[in-house]
Amino acid sequence: MKKKKQRRIKKEALTAYLMIAPEMILMLIFIFIPIIYALYISLFDWNALGTKTFAGLDNYSHMLDDATFWGSLFTTVKYAVIYVAAVYILSLAAAVFVNSIRGNRRQQACRVAIYLPNTISTIVAATLWSFLFNSRNGYINRIVELFGGERQLFLGSSSQALICVAVVGIWIAFGYNMIIFLSALKDVPAEYYEAARIDGANAVQRFFKITFPLIKGTSIFILITTLIASFQVFDQIRVMTSGGPAGATEVTVYYIFQLAFEQYRFGYASAIAVALSLIIMVVTVVQMKLLKFK
């Protein structure tokens, strides 16, 4: 009897391992091995063309004195604050709005419309928004001028460029996060709202006393995933600003790209990549602890 049970467990475990094996192997090849290799390269002075010269922790100590690195990190944090806050608020607001629409058809149409930008590749979206943000012929400036405002430089301004770049990221991401919020909202039992309504709670009270606490898990998930995504922003910066003007949109990932592929400093670029991964890891753990994520 016992043996039979053991054999069954064995068989089940084997099936499970076989099922996750392809994914695990792919993750090893494309994620874990490159990470370990980056860690290895970060200990060398290497321009990708010649031989690697062992540099020990030189790349890491150089990083501490590198003002551009710290500047890029600060820009990344600024981007993260704009992006995470906007994606969170907009996707939650959109989800609550869509959830309140009566009639399946209408709700569906609205959901699709909001989700649609997520199906566009970042490169295409960034190109599209570059036209919209064009300081002379862009539609946004035309609208601004229509309302009597002054022509704005947008991507050509050190103070506005980062926000413009963030707008593209937000536009793409908030529909996707709305769907996740929506599924959480659908799980909140309708009885709670009915009971609250009988007790005389208004819409705002119902949202903050019922909806918000009950979707906390989803909220935390979205905060963590959007924060990680914000630290990895690259595509729209490459297309829209190339890190400019004067480094105003030079986030750390873009700086890594420049170091590796424009300056051919692969060792130093890898050291920063390793540091950035550690920073993301630490921030995520702190965030999980603070938000008491289980």
């Binding site: 467990i9 002379r136 004067a246 105003a248």
Partner: protein
Amino acid sequence: MKNQELRKYVKRGISCLVAGMMVIGMAGCQSQENEAGKTDDSSQSVDGPVEIVYWNQWTQEDETAFLEKYIEEYNNSQDKYHVTFLAIPFEEYTTTKLATAFATNEAPDIFECSPAIITQYLDAGVCEPLDDIITEEIRADFTDSAFDTVSRDGHIYGLPLDSDLVALYYNKEILAEHGIEPPTTWEELKEAAAALNTDDYSGFTFEVDKGDWQCFTFYPFVWMQGGTLFTEDGMANLNSEEVINALSLWKDLLDSGNCNETPGRSVSDISILTNGETAMQINGSWSVLRADPEKYGVVPLPAPEEGGNSASVSGGWNVLVSNQSSEEEIAGAKDFISWLWLNVDHVKEFDTEAKFSYSMRNSVIEAGEDIYYSNDNAAVFSDEVISTAKPEIALSGEAKEIVSTMIQNALYSMSAKEAAEIAQEDMLKYQEESGSVFFG
């Protein structure tokens, strides 16, 4: 018990994965060895011709058509070598493609570099000397400075293919409407930009985005004052009066609001002018055949003051051979380069029909004289611009970053003088640490 069982399976699972990874890893190594030593099989030439791989950035239709035509002709003309080529868009070619190919031992046998990236490849020692195919006689046919950027320790590593020059393009109709003559001095340039600027198009467009192309078009503004970015012994001269003046000019132009603040694409693309987005644009000789001479004119870059000198910069691509290739592949690569790129007729056709650029080879210029004077704009380059051009400075990656950052800082975040002083300090520190010297 359950836990022990589970642990056992987890362990087994992990060992299976590790074993699997090792097998994959070994297979990877095997294939890498094959890649690196591809010549072991191919060099024997038992099964057919030796494969020669050629990478470049000639992605325009006429350019690829030219290469396809002649590579096919070469392949048909003999059976020892078989050449294939891959044209990669410029942005990817110089960044992610070429360097990673070398890093993974999958470098093409023949490749091309511009002065903006050539230093990295020559310093790394990955190029094969070409002294044997570029003979004394051939060398004598080239201009004096043609081999400066491609030489190291008395050896020539690259064959200069073309030379691109920079000048000022303008929209004839718009200038005529405003009764403005093409500017010849910095002051006139500022005034013209102000007079021509409208809500729909900018008065003037120059490169505001950081990068190689911005540096490339910045150099002549220093040179035309008689200044240099590096001293005669190759050390930083970035806080010199001439550099600060050039930075101030660019800064004033951008701050005036009369220039294109967001060109949206590289200013090396003449379509900013031809699409009506600007009245004047810095661009180069490569656009001569793309801008209708009836509608668009060309003048040399404006001089600092009346009667002053103009200047231009010449940059172009050089053909190189990788020394990661086998002896037989190197021999094949050299044979092909000699056949295609040392033939005056081929180069003339490439430089004057597939595209428009100047050769550094005198006999090509003579043979293509008709084209070099085929319209007014071409004639401006041939008569007025070429004689004022100095070769692009071949900077290393780090040095390029310092110069680019200086231009960006001056344009957006500080005074020209401050930006120049910071760059000077950074460049000297870098040069002292690395022992690098640069000229221009």
